[in-house]
Symmetry: C2
Subunit: 198 residues, 2 copies
């Protein structure tokens, strides 16, 4: 074995984890969501900018408004997920940098005074954190169902504001124990297809 991570953890996070298509009705607790955050908040971002924001859609009324904006193939599973989260990038993340980056006083104004720079940086770093978040959901023994189709601009208008750029919507819950709860594992690229050496 070339990995230090134990095989059970490899299975939980990657090998046996699947994007969920059906969830059990068991609720996701706030305690679980806090535990996920308290783990994945340590994942690295450039300048520790930590731009990911999470909007939990929980009330039946809000759920209904969200489902209407998703693509048809995602409506039923989202309606039945215990929790659905809208992940977004905060283009005003620099307001927190004095606290997040004490090693570089003034980084906020030195590097991030321009909005287009912040938007680019927030989008790419929040996308890293979206991946940490998916791993964190799995670390909690839950399954994630990330979705990028649908009317993302509509989702922004309905649930976010001009400072938050939507990345994806993620259903969260315990995966159903039944046929079709996840798709069969699709092939992956080989090491040789992905890696080259110079």
């Amino acid at each position: 074995m070339s990995l230090a991570l134990d095989p059970a953890a490899q299975d939980l996070l990657f090998r046996e984890a699947h994007t969920a298509q059906k969830f059990s009705p068991e609720p996701v607790t706030e305690e679980q969501l806090r535990a996920i955050h308290d783990l994945v908040k340590f994942g690295p971002t450039a300048f520790n900018q930590s731009p990911l924001r999470v909007t939990l859609v929980q009330s039946p009324e809000a759920r209904e408004r969200l489902v209407a904006l998703l693509s048809d193939g995602n409506k039923a599973k989202t309606a039945s997920a215990p929790v659905t989260a809208i992940l977004s990038a905060d283009a005003e993340f620099h307001q927190e940098l004095d606290v997040l980056l004490p090693a570089i006083p003034g980084a906020k104004d030195m590097f991030f005074s321009e909005r287009p720079v912040r938007e680019r940086s927030a989008l790419s770093n929040a996308q890293l954190q979206a991946a940490y978040f998916i791993i964190g959901v799995r670390a909690a023994g839950l399954a994630a169902g990330p979705m990028t189709g649908g009317d993302m601009e509509g989702i922004r208008k309905e649930f976010l504001d001009d400072d938050h750029l939507p990345l994806m919507v993620v259903n969260i819950g315990r995966i159903a124990e039944e046929e079709g709860a996840h798709h069969p594992r699709a092939p992956r690229l080989s090491y040789e297809q992905v890696f080259t050496t110079v």
Copy 2:
């Protein structure tokens, strides 16, 4: 404990992991890099598009060319890292979709016939995979040192081609056991600062 992942794995991947500033001279083996790939290749991407590509910079000559294109603060640590990887997004990822996505024959032409659509999709999905890759490096008991500063367009011209969009450069190795091998842990945002509920 609200997480299913055991505490040792939590520490290895997140709590005790740090972006490395100094590496031990111990080499990183191809076996380790293959094991990382064989784990993180299972991380989810939209349509299983798997657009991340990894260019390992190993020859002293190539290393020198890369170091010249990095920002000053990143030159010394990159020169001393056992392996440095350029992570990029393959804008022609759709060429592999017939294999990667057998469930949707023709997805390549249905969804990804236009280059700008592919570039946007490749960038955001490869960025997710960059996060899985960082987690994978840590799963191998190694430390990652991701860097986004420097002359990325120069790196593209020197090491990639027009179809590959550079995301970041990552130093990989065992973290040095000495003062300054990593920065002190910086603060993180609270659950309340990141999560809202509707």
